[in-house]
């Protein structure tokens, strides 16, 4: 590949295998630490900054893996700048779509919470029937997950 000798390019491939496997393993460990599965880090999961840090680290490691796959395995490194830009630049535009839609998503959530805060207490409470009385349409009422928990403000 490129100007590497055959032996060197084979070495590079196996280096890539080890690298991607190691990064994946690190990602899983970070994710588990963020969920409180790793004993001595469990206390940190109460802090919001720790969870944000975990999320950011996971995203950065994933982007690094994507970079490595595209540049090394798919040989984007050896293509002309023109091809590289024409493929990668449109992907860059998605960053705005991500920001805009995640913002939109939280707006939906807020709107739903706002709506619920105006509904009556009875409507807000989940299906609790008097003991011994069987619900006629329990599934209908229980199916709406968002009705059960009180919204966070």
């Amino acid at each position: 590949m490129g100007n590497l000798s055959y032996e060197d390019s084979i070495k590079r491939v196996y280096f890539g295998l080890k690298l991607l496997a190691a990064v994946t393993l690190i990602e899983v460990l970070i994710s588990l630490a963020g969920k409180g599965h790793i004993g001595f880090l469990k206390g940190l999961t109460n802090y919001k900054w720790f969870l944000i840090l975990v999320g950011l680290a996971l995203i950065l490691f994933s982007l690094y893996k994507a970079y490595f796959i595209i540049y090394e395995f798919m040989h984007m490194k050896y293509e002309t700048p023109g091809l590289r830009w024409s493929v990668l630049l449109p992907m860059g535009l998605l960053i705005w779509a991500i920001i805009a839609f995640f913002n939109e998503g939280s707006a939906w959530g807020n709107a739903r919470a706002e709506y619920k805060s105006h509904t009556t207490e009875e409507q807000k409470l989940p299906t609790i029937y008097p003991v011994g009385e069987s619900p006629t349409k329990a599934s209908d009422e229980l199916e709406l997950p968002l009705d059960v928990h009180e919204p966070k403000h």
Binding site: V13, T24, G109
Partner: protein
């Protein structure tokens, strides 16, 4: 339009020398073949499709007050591996990590096949492509197990999500309606079990409920899901709710779409592997370019998995 006519018409325009211009044709500005440019643009469009699915997933997740906890949802493994002493009943993300390794390994064997193709080493290409096919089939097998487990044992469908997450802490009620000693905290995940079915986590104790109704300790709905009752810190009695409906649909649709790409990839790998073995690409003398294009597709499938893995399992 041929180069000749272009040059000819360019003469009329004065001193314009068409042969030096990239726009006159007959010269590749990207210094690569038509096929490779087109597979890149196909992959670009496919990346947009996957990105729109994953962005929809993100938007719905952001809009929901709670979301199933991935390390709780994906904590089982085949052959009861999660029951081994080192895991003790829960093996969070272990199985999907193995699936990721399989896909990475098959990507690496594909790179080796492409390298052997450049050297016109027919047998080398066939050998490494067969390993890649095995990796792809292995991944599909793992996904089949994962889906079978989620659908068959844990009763998740595209409209029902039995995996919920508590948004407040509380204490479960016993079967007779009295307060039990089992407590949970906000952010903890739970799985709604079905009457007359074994538990998804294989603990296997029988359910005390047999038909729909409202019991002192739980509500059993018409579909047979048991919603255990609990008392919150404020003293309010509630019953467990289903998780966000969108979760099942998004999970099956996105991992299914990715799995379908893997499946298609395996089919094409097999076809191209047969063509390689027949010596078709040796005759073309272009360094097995078809294998290279197949490689681009296969790496793309691996690339998409990086982000599916991030969105569904890690975050």
């Amino acid at each position: 339009m041929s180069v000749d006519t272009l040059t000819h018409s360019a003469h009329g325009a004065g001193d314009y020398n068409a042969s030096e211009s990239n726009w006159a044709g007959a010269k590749s500005p990207f210094k690569t073949s038509y096929g490779k440019i087109m597979i890149w643009y196909f992959l670009l469009s496919d990346a947009f499709t996957f990105a729109s699915f994953l962005i929809a997933y993100g938007a719905l997740r952001f809009s929901s007050p709670s979301w199933p906890v991935p390390d709780f949802v994906f904590s089982t493994a085949p052959f009861g591996i999660h029951n081994l002493p080192i895991f003790g009943g829960k093996a969070p993300l272990i199985f999907v990590t193995f699936m990721s390794f399989l896909l990475i390994a098959s990507s690496v064997t594909m790179v080796r096949a492409v390298q052997e193709g450049h050297r016109e080493n027919k047998n080398g290409v066939v050998f490494w492509m067969i390993l890649t096919i095995i990796g792809g089939l292995g991944f599909l097998g793992c996904q089949a197990w994962e889906w079978a487990n989620l659908i068959g044992k844990e009763h998740m469908t595209i409209t029902t999500d039995p995996f919920g997450t508590y948004t407040e802490s509380g204490t479960y009620l016993n079967e007779d309606g009295t307060l039990s000693s089992e407590t949970f905290e906000a952010g903890e995940g739970y799985l709604l079990h079905k009457i007359g079915a074994g538990h998804g986590d294989d603990t296997g104790h029988a359910s005390p409920y047999h038909k729909a109704g409202n019991y002192p300790g739980a509500v059993v709905d018409d579909k047979g899901f048991i919603h255990r009752k609990y008392k919150t810190a404020d003293g309010v009695v509630k019953s467990q709710a289903f998780g966000p409906k969108a979760f099942g649909a998004l999970f099956f649709f996105i991992t299914g779409f990715h799995g379908f790409h893997v499946f298609t990839g395996v089919i094409f790998l097999i076809i191209i592997c047969i063509n390689v073995a027949s010596g078709l690409y040796m005759k073309r003398k272009n360094g097995h370019e078809m294998v290279e294009k197949m490689g681009l597709y296969w790496h793309f499938v691996d690339l998409v998995w990086v982000f599916v893995f991030l969105a569904f399992y890690l975050l």
